[in-house]
Symmetry: C2
Subunit: 132 residues, 2 copies
Amino acid sequence: MAVSMTEQEWRPDGETMCPYRLVLEHVTSRWGVLVLISLMDRPYRFSELRRAISDVRPVSEKMLTQTLQTLERDGMIHRDAKPVIPPRVDYSLTDLGREAAEQVRGLAEWTARRMGQVREARERYDAEKGRG
Amino acid sequence: MAVSMTEQEWRPDGETMCPYRLVLEHVTSRWGVLVLISLMDRPYRFSELRRAISDVRPVSEKMLTQTLQTLERDGMIHRDAKPVIPPRVDYSLTDLGREAAEQVRGLAEWTARRMGQVREARERYDAEKGRG
DNA sequence: CGGGATCCGAGAGGATACTG
DNA sequence: CAGTATCCTCTCGGATCCCG
């Protein structure tokens, strides 16, 4: 089974790693970030969400499914499957998920604001290495 | 070369992905988080930092080196190599790095606070699946 | 439409040995 | 001590096919 978007355990003896790190990796994961931020606007259906995210970066169905399941299990996302044909499933943030999304968005926005400084730092660094 | 703690480009045409996502992945990476938070206290030497982090989770020299280089290149970390025998290298946060560390710590602390709710959500979820 | 199951390549990440 | 270089393993993540 193992929904594992990341590792579960790391010690041979099965002792568990500080568990919040796993949650942190879930919400800051490549697709977790985009899912959480997208869902801040409104609920989305599966394919709809896939298209929205793919505007930023193409995501496979598999990874989107995996991400949604992991975040649902962590209590960040509510999954509402309507028993109709064709199937319709709506995803939305829980209260917990909204808090997470706000945190993540904060970090993302900070990063975006500081991109200029990061770029400068990189150019300096690469120039150093170039000469040696 | 490619210091790549993560991917660089993703489109065949070489068009660059929204670049801040890379920085985000650097600072929220498995080892990036622990490095940044550790360095908030004070500067550390390499092995010293390795030991400190390994209290939380064992890190190989390779991954610590890679993480430090990536974060140095992004301008988050200052590397001070003293020309002495035996070698002595001190790592500390830059102003930019301190801002990043505060953001990351905020997210980490939020996650830690909410772990109880996450655990409950997981138990509910797993119980659902168990029955069907 | 919303997934599951499977196969596969690429990169993350560890262990070890070596160097200045 | 602070790395570098090499090898090896394992997981992430994409592609494809299938099902209700």
